[in-house]
Symmetry: C2
Subunit: 134 residues, 2 copies
C-alpha cells in the first residue's frame, strides 16, 4: 500500500534523490518508516511533488514554494501569499522580457553587419559598431 521513495519519484516524474532532497529542505514531510527504515509514502505525495514542479516551472524558487506549502500545511489558504509571489514573479518576467528584447535588437544589428575577415575589421570594431547602435 505504502509507496517507496523510487515509486513516488517515478509517479511524480523526478529522481529519488530529488524526493529525499525535498524532504531535507522541508518541502515534503518526513514519512513514516518501515521496520527496516525505508520511507513509506501515502498516495498524495506524488501530487504534492507535481505541485512543487508546477510552481517551479512558473519560476518560483524552492524556498518560496516551501513557504506556500508551510502556510497550506498549517491549514490556512496561502492564496493571498501566492498572489504576492505571483505578482512579483510577473514583474520579474516583464523586466526580463524587456531586457532580452533590447538585447535581441542589439545582437540582430550586430549579426547583420558586413564584418568580413579583412584586415581592419576586428572584434573591437564589431563592438564599437554595436555600441554606436544602442
Amino acid at each position: 500500500m505504502a509507496l517507496r521513495v523510487s515509486e513516488v519519484a517515478q509517479q511524480a516524474g523526478v529522481s529519488a534523490d530529488a524526493v529525499r532532497f525535498y524532504e531535507k529542505e522541508g518541502l515534503l514531510p518526513s514519512p513514516p518508516r518501515s521496520p527496516a527504515g525505508y520511507r513509506e509514502y501515502d498516495a498524495t505525495i506524488p501530487h504534492r511533488i507535481r505541485f512543487i514542479k508546477g510552481a517551479q516551472e512558473m519560476g518560483l524558487k524552492l524556498a518560496e514554494i516551501g513557504e506556500l506549502l508551510e502556510i497550506q500545511d498549517r491549514g490556512a489558504c496561502p492564496c493571498g501569499h501566492t498572489k504576492t509571489l505571483v505578482e512579483r514573479r510577473i514583474a520579474e518576467i516583464d523586466a526580463e522580457i524587456d531586457r532580452l528584447s533590447s538585447l535581441r535588437t542589439g545582437l540582430a544589428g550586430l549579426a547583420e553587419l558586413e564584418c568580413s575577415a579583412t584586415t581592419e575589421s576586428d572584434l573591437w570594431a564589431c563592438e564599437a559598431e554595436f555600441r554606436k547602435r544602442r
Copy 2:
C-alpha cells in the same frame, strides 16, 4: 605610467578580484610585474575588460568570450566566430522570450482568479485552475 590592478579595475568598473580572476581564466594576459611583484598593466587593458563586460551583457559566457579573445590575440579576425556565437545567442533569447511570454500569460490568469481565503479555495485549487487554463 603602469597601472596597478585596482586602478585598472576602477577604470573598467569591476573589482580588483575580478581582474585577477579574468587573468586566471585566461581572458587577460599575465602582465609584467614590478620588482615587488605587483602587476603592471598598460593603458589598453581597461578597454579589454570593458569589452569583456560588453560581451557578457549580450549574454555570452566567459568561456566564449575567451575563445573570441584568443582568436583575436593570434592576429585573426574573430568576426565569423563572433557571428556564430551571436546567432546562437539570438536563438536562445528567442526561445527564452517565448517561454517567458507563455509563462506570463499563465501567471497573469492565475493572479486574476477570485481565490479568496474561504474554506475550500486552497493552493491545490489554484493550481488545478492554473492547469485548466493552459
